[in-house]
């Protein structure tokens, strides 16, 4: 199992603990990552501004992976969506691929349509598999109650993801959590959006969207939130304090990236998983396993 690891913009600058734990756990599970330093922004943030630019940024990133003969593994759900969508569109539409290559040619690149894209959680779920994950667990997290936040682009549009999970009744993250021995917490707002995409347009609405889920997860007595997207993590992590101050609420709800949860269950040291760098320190949680 070898992939080009696509870090995107947010992870390598603001979510180093996600990157650390992803690399550490992947290594343990036999997933090899190649780094391609020329990767840029995936193209997602400019999709709503200038479609052609977004398409070319995504195609250029795909071309870079193709040069190395590798498929892409993503950590960010928004990167996953735009890269997957572009990879599928260019594999199916020869005229568009030709047009894209006329532009890529001007910067010395070419794409022939062979690269496939998978989110890290989907790689765990499909390539590694739940049985192998259960076997890798050395320290089951029996004492943990964990609420998964699926976010949007990890699942939707479901047609570009071969319907690997159901957009209305998603299960993959809960199953991945359960495979570590932890209890997967069910809650009513599980599928809702974090609001991150409109933080810069209307902070008030965006924070209320995050708050509604924090309220629900807290009411369901979860010990932590399981995340697979760095931008969702900005909302539930960095903005959790802001929400507490603004609405006079109190959560102190640690956020964990799935590879951190899995890594803990595999017996990997908390420091190697970057837990001390998480925005909400999971002290009470760690005390449960020490």
């Amino acid at each position: 199992m070898k992939y080009a690891i696509f870090l995107g913009c947010t992870v390598p600058v603001r979510n180093l603990s996600y990157e650390l734990s992803a690399r550490r756990v992947a290594r343990e599970l036999g997933i090899e990552f190649a780094d391609i330093s020329e990767f840029s922004c995936c193209g997602y943030p400019v999709k709503s501004v200038h479609h052609e630019t977004s398409l070319l940024l995504a195609a250029r990133n795909l071309a870079l992976a193709e040069e190395k003969g590798l498929d892409i593994c993503t950590l960010c759900s928004a990167c996953t969506s735009v890269l997957t969508e572009t990879s599928r569109e260019l594999a199916a539409n020869e005229a568009l691929l030709e047009k894209v290559n006329r532009s890529l040619g001007a910067i010395g690149r070419r794409y022939s349509g062979r690269v496939r894209v998978k989110h890290l959680a989907r790689v765990f779920y499909e390539d590694v598999g739940l049985e192998a994950i259960k076997k890798a667990v050395k320290r089951p997290l029996d004492a943990f109650r964990i609420a998964s936040h699926y976010g949007c682009h990890y699942l939707k549009p479901s047609e570009i993801y071969d319907h690997f999970d159901h957009p209305e009744v998603p299960q993959s993250l809960d199953r991945l959590v359960a495979a570590t021995g932890a209890e997967a917490v069910d809650y009513a707002t599980k599928k809702e959006c974090c609001g991150g995409a409109i933080l810069g347009v209307d902070e008030n609405i965006a924070l209320q969207m995050t708050r509604a889920k924090l309220d629900d997860i807290k009411a369901n007595e979860a010990d932590a939130i399981n995340l697979v997207c760095p931008f969702c993590s900005v909302m539930y992590g960095a903005n959790q304090r802001k929400i507490q101050a603004k609405y006079g609420t109190r959560y102190d709800l640690p956020i964990l990236y799935y590879p951190q949860i899995l890594g803990l269950a595999m017996g990997i040291d908390a420091e190697e998983l970057g837990l001390s760098q998480n925005p909400i320190k999971p002290k009470a949680l760690l005390a449960k396993i020490s």
Partner: protein, 176 residues
């Protein structure tokens, strides 16, 4: 007077609507299915943004667009409020692909000179550094300390793409 409205009461006036607007949207990437909308409201009823603030209402935006209220739609703040969660996209019985229609409308608004400042800032950062967040020396030092590979602080190829597609000119206000 804005196109598509009556000066006194803001009512829709048929004679000033632009009947070609919907065809223009349908010719934009993502806008292809807009005319399939039969106004059932499934999009708005499941929209997490509409639930909190009624100024964002996808059914209304699509109706306005089909009616031809060009300026009212393109110059609006509300088209920028879609959180791109794809809930409506998944549920729409007519496969209007609403999230993508909103992207098409935002692309058209940008070309008409109405880019939202938050999206302008993002697009400018990516054009400048190749990424949304600049990888500066401090970041690379921290990455190296943690044993993570360092990353380049700029991407000349991304800047070239911005030049090629006309986005660089659009952002500098010189037109595409």
């Amino acid at each position: 007077m804005e196109s598509g409205t009556c000066a006194e009461k803001d009512h829709v006036v048929v004679t000033v609507l632009d009947p070609k607007f919907k065809y223009e949207i349908a010719s934009e990437p993502g806008g292809e299915n807009i005319k399939y909308c039969f106004q059932c409201g499934t999009c708005t009823s499941g929209c997490p943004v509409s639930e909190l603030d009624s100024k964002y209402n996808p059914r209304r935006i699509i109706r306005m667009a089909i009616l031809g209220m060009r300026e009212r739609v393109l110059a609006s703040d509300f088209i920028w409020l879609c959180s791109t969660c794809y809930t409506c996209y998944e549920r729409c019985p007519q496969d209007v692909r609403i999230t993508e229609v909103m992207n098409a409308l935002k692309n058209m608004a940008v070309k008409a000179g109405y880019i939202h400042p938050a999206f302008r800032a993002q697009a400018e950062l990516i054009g400048g550094h190749g990424r949304l967040y600049e990888v500066d020396e401090f970041t690379n030092e921290k990455r190296a300390e943690l044993g993570l590979p360092t990353l380049p602080g700029s991407s000349p190829e991304v800047a070239e793409i911005y030049g090629m597609t006309g986005l660089a000119s659009l952002l500098s206000g010189k037109g595409a």
